[in-house]
């Protein structure tokens, strides 16, 4: 493992009651890399995302971002008895930032079931993402003392929308956009938080083959333009194989394989997980 990893997930276990949703996950993303996380439905991919972004507190394990531990936890209280994962007692630090703090550090995400601000315009959807890094406080904002900053935020939003070819829609309500554009807008909004690492949760879900094709080029282009590292969950295998430099495969919460697209395609475990094992084999 080289050590230019921007993100490393180390021994992360997420257990809900007695159910282990993610079991001892180890995963890393190199700077500038596009990595895919795949696996059958219910394998724990989105749960892993939620652990990384602070939505869930992992039961055990730690997550490092830019070589700093940003999340760390160990089983506490009732979970001490219930815990059935590995590496019990390995971590003693407790650090569970809320999702906004994770975003502030430079990890942005999109959601599997698009979560745009539905009652607001395309423009405002992106502008909201600029709020986090604004220096104004509630008084200077109300009394319009930070006019210059507000203007800069608007210009940046304008520029970002222009780049993403969404400018002509800027006054549309977000909920009125067609599905594909809503996905694009969600990515644009995530980019507006100025992330270093972008987590995409099924960006191609619900897209037709042509849109999926365009998405490949799009993801590459944003990666290059914003010097991003990308971790994505995806079911479209064409897209995954074409775009990702490395792939992790999850099944029943555990990692069953990792490697380049070619390696994964020929991995027997992966084939078994997806197609099932025939009984007489």
């Amino acid at each position: 493992m080289t050590y230019d990893a921007i993100l490393s997930v180390e021994n992360v276990t997420m257990q809900f009651g007695g159910v282990v949703a993610v079991n001892n996950l180890n995963l890393h993303v190199q700077r500038g890399e596009i990595v895919a996380l795949i696996g059958p439905n219910g394998a724990g991919k989105t749960t892993a995302f939620n652990c990384i972004t602070g939505v869930y507190e992992p039961t055990n394990g730690q997550i490092r971002f830019n070589d700093q531990v940003i999340i760390s936890n160990h089983p506490k209280g009732k979970m001490k008895k219930l815990y059935s994962g590995e590496n019990y007692g390995m971590y003693s630090k407790v650090k569970n930032p809320t999702p906004d703090k994770v975003t502030r550090l430079g990890i942005a995400r999109t959601f599997q079931n698009i979560r745009l601000f539905k009652t607001q315009t395309v423009f405002d959807n992106v502008l909201i993402a600029k709020h986090m890094r604004a220096k104004q406080n509630v008084f200077s904002a109300t009394l319009r003392l930070s006019y210059a900053e507000e203007k800069r935020m608007r210009q940046e939003t304008y520029a970002l929308l222009e780049e993403q070819n969404l400018l002509h829609l800027k006054d549309e309500m977000a909920s009125n956009l067609p599905y594909g554009l809503q996905r694009r807008l969600e990515i644009a909004r995530a980019l507006a938080t100025q992330p270093q690492l972008l987590l995409l949760d099924e960006p191609a879900a619900g897209m037709n083959p042509q849109e999926t094709q365009e998405l490949t080029a799009f993801i590459h282009s944003i990666r290059d333009k914003y010097q991003l590292s990308i971790l994505m969950i995806e079911h479209h295998m064409d897209l995954v194989m074409e775009i990702s430099e490395r792939i992790y495969v999850l099944d029943f919460g555990s990692l069953i394989a990792e490697g380049t697209p070619e390696e994964i395609q020929n991995n027997q475990h992966v084939i078994d997980a997806y197609l099932g094992v025939s009984e007489d084999a």
Partner: protein, 302 residues
């Protein structure tokens, strides 16, 4: 240690009337609280109008008893109250089933406002005297305390009704449907459960118990005013939260605890704070254990 027991016994003997009153009020709260907890369990709605329906039940009996004997008036009151509960759900909540949660809560507040104002109109703002119901209004003496028969009847009746309700929910078809709906609204709909029927049944049971509760509650009071239902209603809701919303035994235990504590506080001379105490308890519970004593924890899905 002995001294401790002595202070305890002296506490009980001096506070016996308050403890008895507490048990009695607790039982009445329990009967109201079940309506809250069941409706919340199924619709995730705080039925703000429930306390007012409870008040309406009191008024209905007053007016009914004025023109007919009690053995007719009481069943009539129960039937009319249940009908009101049913109609409120059909008219004010059903059309909003797919609306945001806030809308339906506002609708509940609107219904509460409407019932209170109707009561104000009908009574002309006068306090109406509740009829004395034979036997349960009679006085009895227990130890050092003299109290009404209702104080003894309430806990017994409450427990009998709760057992009946638990049996109903556990062993009948409609009970099973209720459990399914409270678990997962959409899925149970897909499984062919007639949601509207289940919800109506919930409101009917809830208001039936509130009607019985009103009978017991108002016997202890001199009269009924349009706003009298609001406080017991809110307290019963707190009891439901305290016991873990959705859990019937939880609501009953919560109600008894609140009834007893409240009356002991009154006994200590802190009457101003007897209402405030309930809410303080609510806030403590919500912070320490939001799922209540017997509630289930559920996490939001992202």
């Amino acid at each position: 240690m002995e001294q401790f027991i002595e202070t305890l016994t002296s506490f009980f003997s001096t506070n016996l009337p308050y403890i008895l009153a507490g048990i009695s009020v607790g039982g009445q709260y329990a009967l109201i609280a079940i309506g809250y907890t069941m409706v919340y369990g199924i619709l995730r709605l705080i039925n703000f109008a429930h306390g007012d329906i409870f008040m309406a039940a009191g008024l209905i009996l007053i007016y009914a008893a004025a023109s007919m004997p009690l053995y007719l008036a009481i069943p009539l009151m129960i039937v009319v109250t249940v009908l009101i509960g049913f109609l409120v759900e059909r008219v004010a909540y059903k059309p909003l089933r797919s609306a945001p949660r806030m809308s339906i809560m506002i609708s509940a507040i609107g219904v509460s406002y409407l019932i209170q104002n109707l009561a104000l109109y009908v009574t002309g703002g006068l306090t109406k005297v509740y009829p004395a119901i034979p036997w349960i209004s009679d006085s009895v003496t227990i130890g050092s305390a003299t109290t009404k028969m209702v104080t003894l009847v309430t806990p017994v009746l409450t427990i009998v009704l709760v057992i009946a309700l638990v049996l109903l929910i556990r062993y009948t078809k409609i009970g099973m449907a209720m459990r399914a709906v409270s678990r997962d609204f959409e899925t149970s709909q897909l499984m062919g459960i007639k949601i509207d029927r289940v919800i109506s049944a919930t409101f009917i049971i809830g208001t039936f118990l509130a009607a019985i509760g009103s009978l017991l509650f108002f016997t202890n009071y001199t009269g009924v005013t349009p706003t009298i239902g609001a406080m017991p209603g809110l307290k019963a809701f707190v009891a439901a939260v305290f016991g873990g919303i959705g859990s019937i035994p939880g609501a009953v235990i919560g109600a008894f605890i609140i009834g007893i504590c409240e009356n002991i506080i009154k006994g200590l001379g802190w009457t101003t704070f007897s209402d405030a105490f309930t809410f303080a308890l609510l806030i403590v519970i919500l912070i320490v254990k939001p799922s209540g004593l017997f509630g289930e924890k559920n996490t939001d899905k992202v």
